[in-house]
Symmetry: C2
Subunit: 196 residues, 2 copies
């Protein structure tokens, strides 16, 4: 349905969306001002509204893009390091990020959930819907690792998945709350043992 008629766009739509997503990821929804987004995306207001309709709309697109990219990223990791490897890698990656940058971005969906839960409840449905993908993926990874003997823990994969998620989310929070290296290591060790 694409017509080559009319003045062509001077920017890549997908690329711009990707930039917006990272901007939202770093600043959150409310603190991502339109002017900030425009500057980062390097486009002008009229182009923005023509292409992305509104701030709310591009945020929704960003959430979807994040979910899709993360999913593909983890699937790629799985081929590289196996199911259990992915689950552990996510933990270690978080710590690396902390060591290298001094902070941690966390999960865009989890962050948005905290921010929007009471202030922008109209986003809740999309956020929790998109997050279901992750829950399912974690469960499948654990199941696969159990079947292949990487994980001996016989708890149901769904149970283990929930605990894993809770610990991962909690870990990011603890980092932001200024927990010490020892405190973080305690949690990491607990995760490792859970997945043994």
């Amino acid at each position: 349905m694409k017509k080559n008629i009319g003045r062509p766009k001077a920017f890549d739509e997908q690329e711009a969306l990707k930039i917006a997503m990272h901007y939202f990821w770093e600043h959150g929804y409310d603190k991502s001002s339109l002017s900030g987004l425009l500057e980062a995306m390097n486009i002008k207001k009229s182009s923005f509204y023509q292409t992305f309709k509104s701030k709310e709309h591009i945020f929704r697109l960003s959430l979807e893009l994040y979910a899709k990219m993360s999913y593909e990223y983890m699937q790629g990791l799985k081929k590289e390091m196996g199911a259990k490897g992915v689950l552990l890698h996510i933990v270690y990656e978080t710590i690396s990020e902390l060591r290298e940058t001094g902070k941690v971005k966390g999960c865009l969906l989890a962050n948005s959930s905290s921010e929007c839960f009471s202030n922008h409840p109209h986003f809740n449905e999309l956020i929790s819907y998109k997050f279901k993908t992750f829950r399912k993926l974690f469960k499948e990874l654990i199941e696969e690792a159990q079947n292949e003997g990487e994980i001996k823990n016989t708890l149901p994969s769904s149970t283990l998945g929930s605990i894993y998620q809770s610990l991962i989310n909690g870990l990011v929070q603890m980092i932001q709350l200024g927990a010490s290296k020892e405190e973080l290591n305690a949690v990491i060790k607990h995760i490792e043992e859970l997945l043994t």
Copy 2:
């Protein structure tokens, strides 16, 4: 140093601060507009600035009040239900809140940490400092419960405390992310077993 000279205040300073704290707790820092705060506190702008100096200042006061009130609340609970009882009560209370109100406020310090971590880093120091109180309290409660045989788990109390905290924070996040009752129960059961 209090002089009874001049026009007396028409509102209770402590009471107003308490209201502000609850307002911040429910809306977060950025989404707590001055007008919203004033309406809730039922005072006028000039009184606000005269008494509380600025929005930033009253937020700091709110964080401190929250830490103090929570600490006293938990100390009170301990007398009523013992050390282990407190730790479990916090979990059950969260679930009750979810059942009764359909949502969950979480911990003001943890919420503020998420919100302010990258957007208002000048709050980080105060937040993580105040949170240390909780970390210490959790550790002490666990230690006490271990000494009295309420908890058989022989992991160091500091380790157990970190894991507990991570799980509690993660639990709140999972609620906001729309986790199912079963998924939450999996986490709760895990906490209960950890404290056995």
